[in-house]
Amino acid sequence: MTETAEEISAHDASNEFKELLTFFLAGEEYGVDILRVQEIKGWDSVTNIPNTPEYIRGVINIRGSIVPIIDMRLRFNLEKKEYDATTVVIVLNVVNDGKSDRTMGVVVDAVSDVYNVPIDDVKASPDFGTAVDTEFVTGLATIEEKMIIVLDIDHMLNAAELAVIDQISE
């Protein structure tokens, strides 16, 4: 899986397609590389981890692995929302440079669709206009007149972890 993902990013310049899984978060549509998605599951209770930021909801058991769950709304400082029937956890495979891959789950409002996007159509994002820190955004894609924010999950989820370390070592 990882290899394929890397292959795709290696061919960024060519006319290749990228499949994106999109989800909603506070009315905006975000996309992640579908090859990184391990599974999608409904929200279930988690075990809290003490002394971690609020956006780290806790850990769950996915077939014997302990997987941390991160609330995307809280991560992006968006308004809190009660979890409802459409709330899902997207379990992602995160590649961390030089270290082994991790599995992490993100809580989003709802999943939307799967799109096949030509890689060239993903445009670099301007420095404003979304609630999300542009540092975690790979680019913007337009599909059927809608804007989709393509996220750099590796950067985002590894950075999320770094933030925790900073906080504790203070």
């Binding site: 209770s45 988690v46 075990t47 809290n48 981890i49 003490p50 002394n51 971690t52 806790g58 850990v59 769950i60 058991n61 014997g64 692995s65 302990i66 997987v67 941390p68 082994s100 991790r102 599995t103 992490m104 972890e161 925790v164 370390i165 504790i168």
Partner: protein, 675 residues
């Protein structure tokens, strides 16, 4: 022959390192004057296998180097050479060089050529090739005439069936000389229709020209097939008589970089680790799986055709009980696969003590007991360095110099005892020396200097000794290359703590010190006490729990406002309100309505306030770090019977968190905890 040899590299390295260990321990025995032919033979065989293996895999530099060692050992084996201390020292040195070479090849890094050359010189020196040896270092290209050999090689017909490859032999011959002219004789080849492809009907005659080749070198090539071939070796016309060693050396230097390059290409950095398991453990496992299958098929009958009534339920219960038993046994068997005898960690010490005692001019006897005690492989690998540190420390700081010992009325030879044994579900490793013991005054002075202890603070002996594990503490007056940099003991403690263990020291002036390391049997499973705090379930390691008790209000004392201590018999134990530290909404904040669990880690006790005790069970430890990160105060997580995750508390970490917490509120000096 297009077999990918690379797949065997890992095994080759593993076996070679094992062989080196065998050689090392054998040599150490030799050095102590126990000349035993069987021992020399064992050393020789190990060297021979390494040579053979490295030749096969194309690690020529290793093969060449081992060849000289082997020659030396061979002479010792045949009684042509006396076993003497200098010779053994050189062989020990060669073992080190060989180990470095193998490590370098495995990791794809550069071989320390100078080191190898130096050792080769030393060995050759002993072998009576002083002239060549001295010139090896000089290495000036001198043009020399070469003589040659005529080798007639007629292998037996079934040589292939014994796993020998004539092509390899010829290739090796070719590498000896500068040029080799090979003529093949196909006369005895049968017609194609009768030819068995596994037979060998050819014979060869080879003209080896150039290079410094001795008859022994050639015989060496054929050593493996000695009794399966007809071999004649004749010297070619002796007109060009003397072959200078310089030429060969020069030649070798030119080849060296090239060789290294090829070796690097064929090996990759060793990341994968493997484990050698006793076959009986595997058989046991297979038996258990067999039992499990039988139980499973018995149980599946209930789901298929039987009607349920009182008696079937009874039998179902029995079956489930059996299943539980088998599952547990299976679990234990699987765990045992990871267990290895501690001798793997101990075996390096004879050498270490031997080397260091000459460095320090001390006489030391090393006694090791309980080497067969088994320990989880991961623990075993990680305990090696801390142990080395402790042994070095005992040797450097503990044992006195021979004169000082005699003055103190002790025997000249100091004793270091290394022992391992089981105690209450833990593995205990002790390092005991009969040296001077820790110097209390020196430790206190130093600790005050470093600001670790406040003036006028009163400490018990054990608390004083414990100071040596503090970061930045070292009492060595002179910083030696062995110990005394002050990074040692705190790192030792940290490493051991990472393994879920603890280390403590006891000492008596003039009689010596004992370092005791306690380690969990395995990292994978833990006896856990489930405790409830608010809506959360946490797990405390049963091993750290001393007792649980209901709170009597009259025993609670407040200290300096925020800190609370509980009087338990004649001790005052700090109360840790877990909900505070972990930020949990508790059921009640009234100590009387909950329970106190008194736990101990590294000699410190705390009483943890929890809402409820829920039960005990064995839990499988899962790392939080795999997908997340290390959290202070937690050693991992586990999955409970209902599939939810529960977090496991790291007592030592929790104590630190508590101390930090207290330090934030009311500044108090260290050492405030009950010991």
């Amino acid at each position: 022959m297009s077999i990918d040899l690379e797949q065997f590299h890992e095994t080759f390295f593993e076996e070679s390192f094992e062989g080196l260990d065998i050689m090392e321990s054998g040599l150490l025995e030799l050095e102590q004057g126990e000349v035993d032919l069987e021992n020399i033979n064992t050393i020789f065989r190990s060297a021979h296998s390494i040579k053979g293996g490295s030749g096969t895999f194309g690690f020529t530099s290793v093969a060449e180097f081992t060849h000289d060692m082997e020659t030396l050992l061979d002479q010792m084996r045949n009684g042509e050479r006396q076993v003497s201390v200098p010779v053994v020292e050189i062989l020990l040195g060669s073992v080190d060089v060989l180990r470095n070479m193998l490590n370098a090849i495995r990791d794809g890094s550069d071989i320390d050529v100078d080191n190898v050359a130096e050792m080769t010189v030393a060995i050759k020196g002993i072998l009576g090739e002083e002239s060549s040896a001295t010139e090896v270092a000089v290495s000036q290209p001198v043009s020399v005439a070469a003589k040659g050999w005529l080798v007639q090689f007629k292998p037996a017909v079934d040589i292939m069936k014994t796993g020998n490859d004539t092509v390899r032999l010829l290739r090796e011959l070719n590498s000896l000389a500068e040029t080799a002219e090979v003529t093949v004789n196909n006369e005895s080849l049968p017609p194609l229709s009768e030819l068995d492809p596994e037979d060998c009907h050819q014979s060869w005659s080879i003209n080896l020209i150039g290079g410094e080749v001795s008859e022994d070198d050639i015989r060496e090539v054929f050593a493996w097939v000695d009794d399966e071939c007809e071999l004649t070796i004749e010297s070619l016309a002796d007109e060009e008589n003397y072959v200078g060693p310089e030429r060969r050396d020069d030649d070798r230097r030119q080849k060296e970089p090239e060789r290294r390059r090829t070796e690097r290409r064929t090996s990759k950095p060793a990341e994968s680790s493997s484990i050698r398991v006793n076959i009986s453990k595997v058989d046991e496992l297979i038996n258990m799986v067999g039992e499990l299958v039988i139980t499973q098929s018995m149980l599946s009958r209930f789901g298929e055709d039987e009607e349920f009534n009182a008696s079937t339920i009874e039998r179902l219960k029995d079956g489930l009980a059996q299943l539980e038993g088998h599952t547990r046994e299976l679990q234990e068997s699987v765990m045992r696969i990871r267990m290895m005898p501690i001798s793997f960690a101990f075996q390096r010490f004879p050498r270490l003590v031997h080397d260091l005692s000459s460095t320090f001019d001390k006489k030391i006897e090393l006694i090791m007991t309980g080497e067969s005690t088994e320990l989880d492989k991961t623990v075993l690998e990680k305990i090696g360095d801390p142990l080395v540190h402790l042994v070095r420390n005992s040797l450097d700081h503990g044992i006195e110099s021979p004169q000082a010992r005699i003055e103190a009325g002790k025997s000249e030879t100091g004793v270091i005892e290394l022992s391992a044994f089981h105690q209450g579900g833990n593995i205990v490793i002790q390092i005991k020396d009969d040296g001077a013991g820790l110097n209390k005054d020196k430790i206190i002075t130093k600790a005050k200097e470093k600001g670790l202890v406040a003036n006028g603070e009163r400490l018990s002996d054990d608390q004083i000794y414990d100071l040596i594990f503090r970061p930045g503490f070292s009492t060595a007056d002179v910083v030696s290359d062995v110990s005394g940099r002050g990074v040692g003991m705190d790192v030792v403690r940290r490493n051991i703590r990472e393994l879920g263990g603890a280390v403590e020291v006891k000492s008596k002036p003039g009689e010596g010190s004992v370092f005791t390391i306690r380690l969990p049997l395995t990292l994978a499973i833990l006896d856990g006490q489930l405790v409830g705090i608010g809506n959360e379930t946490y797990i405390l390691p049963v091993i750290s729990i001393i007792e649980s008790l209901q709170v009597k209000s009259e025993n609670i004392n407040a200290v300096a406002g925020n800190a609370e201590v509980y009087r338990l018999r004649d001790e005052y134990i700090p109360i840790v309100r877990l909900y505070n530290i972990f930020g949990i909404e508790p059921v009640s904040t009234q100590l009387e309505s909950g329970l106190l669990v008194v736990v101990e880690a590294e000699g410190k006790k705390i009483a943890i306030y929890v809402d409820d005790l829920l039960g005990q069970q064995q839990v499988v430890i899962k790392s939080l770090e795999t997908n997340f990160k290390k959290i202070e105060g937690l050693s991992g997580a586990t999955i409970l019977g209902d599939g939810t995750v529960a977090l496991i508390i790291d007592i030592a970490g929790l104590i630190e968190l508590y101390q930090k917490d207290m330090a934030n509120v009311v500044p108090i000096k260290g050492g405030g905890l009950a010991a």
